[in-house]
């Protein structure tokens, strides 16, 4: 792969042809804008642009700008390198082009021309819009609409930005309030085990777990869910130790417990 080289000779020729622009880099909004200005200078249909010639003009411009010690933004230099490379590929005889080359240089050149033409079209569109009849510049609506208001009801105010803003406002206020989750109070396993053991003598028949677990006291204290969970855990431990038996008829059905040491 050859290193891209700046084709200064061709650039100088282009400059000598009197086609170089007065260097005023501040006047351009980036390389594509500069390319469009140069392309318009060729005075041809932009889609039939000679990219090779355009590359020469661009390189001449960049060279002149550097000679005058303008500091050029990186993207101008990247474009210069890319154009020099593209031009060298365009000049290569077809046969010498490596087979694995993805896009033929001609296609890439055509795409660049297309892209310039597209920017040109938008710039012309912008001008056309500006020169059309504009409200309160060229055309005017009733200067004194009558006192009673007749308004279009079809439209409701509000757009996505408004919606986003409306969302952010309360959320931002929200930031002032700290979030402190209440730590959950849980029923201790030891307590559950002790309670279960105290019930053992009465648990000769199958007893629902929900009847064994303590009722939650109103207000503070562990939740009912915690009472049930801890009682179940304690119960399972006691099953393992052979003190009680447990059974459940179906998934999610009531769990029953009874004392293993039945008289």
């Amino acid at each position: 792969m050859p290193q891209p080289t700046l084709d200064f000779e061709a650039a100088t020729t282009a400059a000598d042809d009197g086609e170089a622009l007065i260097v005023d880099i501040d006047g351009y909004e980036g390389p594509l804008d500069l390319l469009l200005a140069l392309a318009r200078n060729q005075k041809v249909d932009l889609l039939k642009l000679s990219i090779s010639k355009l590359a020469d003009q661009y390189l001449a411009f960049v060279r002149e700008a550097r000679r005058l010690r303008f500091s050029l933004a990186a993207d101008y230099l990247v474009m210069a390198a890319w154009l020099a490379f593209l031009k060298s590929r365009l000049l290569l005889p077809r046969a010498e082009r490596p087979a694995e080359e993805a896009a033929p240089a001609e296609a890439v050149a055509a795409q660049l021309a297309f892209r310039i033409a597209k920017l040109d079209a938008m710039r012309r569109a912008s001008e056309a819009l500006k020169s059309g009849p504009i409200l309160r510049r060229d055309v005017f609506t009733r200067g004194d609409p009558e006192a009673i208001s007749i308004v279009s009801r079809r439209r409701m105010d509000g757009d996505l930005r408004g919606l986003m803003a409306a969302y952010v406002q309360p959320r931002a206020r929200d930031g002032d309030r700290a979030y402190r989750p209440q730590p959950m109070e849980s029923y201790r396993l030891d307590d559950a085990r002790e309670r279960l053991r105290s019930f053992l003598p009465q648990m000769t028949a199958w007893t629902p777990l929900t009847r064994v677990a303590p009722e939650s006291a109103s207000g503070d204290g562990p939740s009912r869910a915690s009472f049930i969970a801890s009682t179940l855990s304690a119960g399972l431990e006691m099953v393992r130790e052979g003190e009680i038996e447990a059974r459940q008829l179906a998934p999610f059905a009531e769990i029953y417990l009874r004392s293993a040491a039945r008289a």
Partner: protein
């Protein structure tokens, strides 16, 4: 077009666009020199005679006004407020981003006690709807947005609501936001919601919670 016609046209445009009635000398100041203003006004007056809009002289000045017999058309509609109140707008935004969301949650986010008025307005405008019920104690109703909402904001789906990145890009998020500020994805599946009409088959989770309140 005759010259007199041309002058009449110009007078027509000037009177139409003027913020107040114009006198003949006002018109003369703005028309080409030598324009026959009296003839132009006369031409316009006969042109508009019997139309919905008429050319009338008020003192020394001229103006267009709607025909008196059509006044009944003009008095009926008063300007309707088309702008949502701040409360309603905020509520709508919260419903949009947090749906399905309960009233209590909306109030928690807005930091206010009451949001039912705002929800009523949004419901009437068909911007929000009741979506279902939260599977939590009390089974509160959850709220969501409607098709009308999507249409109004030009969204194809809820997934198209702008997210944090766009809020940042729009300069809406200041830097001193609480850490961990995030915006929920309203299109995500929320499993803890039941349809409004409660299902026949109770689910484990519900059963479990229900058992909480059963007398034992």
């Amino acid at each position: 077009m005759s010259e007199a016609d041309g002058i009449a046209r110009m007078i027509e445009a000037l009177l139409f666009a003027a913020a107040e009635p114009l006198s003949e000398s006002d018109l003369a100041d703005r028309l080409p020199a030598g324009a026959d203003i009296v003839a132009g006004l006369e031409m316009l007056r006969s042109l508009y005679a019997g139309r919905g809009v008429e050319l009338v002289r008020i003192g020394e000045r001229w103006r267009f006004q709607t025909a008196a017999d059509l006044a009944f058309l003009m008095t009926r509609e008063r300007q309707e407020s088309r702008r949502l109140s701040r409360a309603a707008h905020e509520t709508l935004a919260i419903v949009a981003y947090h749906q399905p969301v309960t009233r209590a949650e909306i109030e928690a986010i807005r930091g206010v006690q009451s949001s039912s008025g705002a929800l009523d307005i949004l419901l009437e405008l068909k911007l929000v709807r009741m979506r279902g019920r939260r599977r939590s104690p009390g089974r509160p109703v959850t709220w969501g947005t409607t098709e009308t909402f999507l249409e109004h904001y030009g969204l194809a789906s809820l997934a198209d609501l702008p997210g944090v990145a766009e809020m940042k890009a729009a300069g809406l998020l200041s830097l001193d936001l609480p850490a961990g500020f995030n915006v929920p994805d309203p299109s995500a599946v929320k499993p803890d919601e039941d349809p409004l009409d409660a299902p026949e088959t109770p689910q484990f989770h519900l059963d479990y919670l229900a058992s909480d309140t059963e007398p034992t």
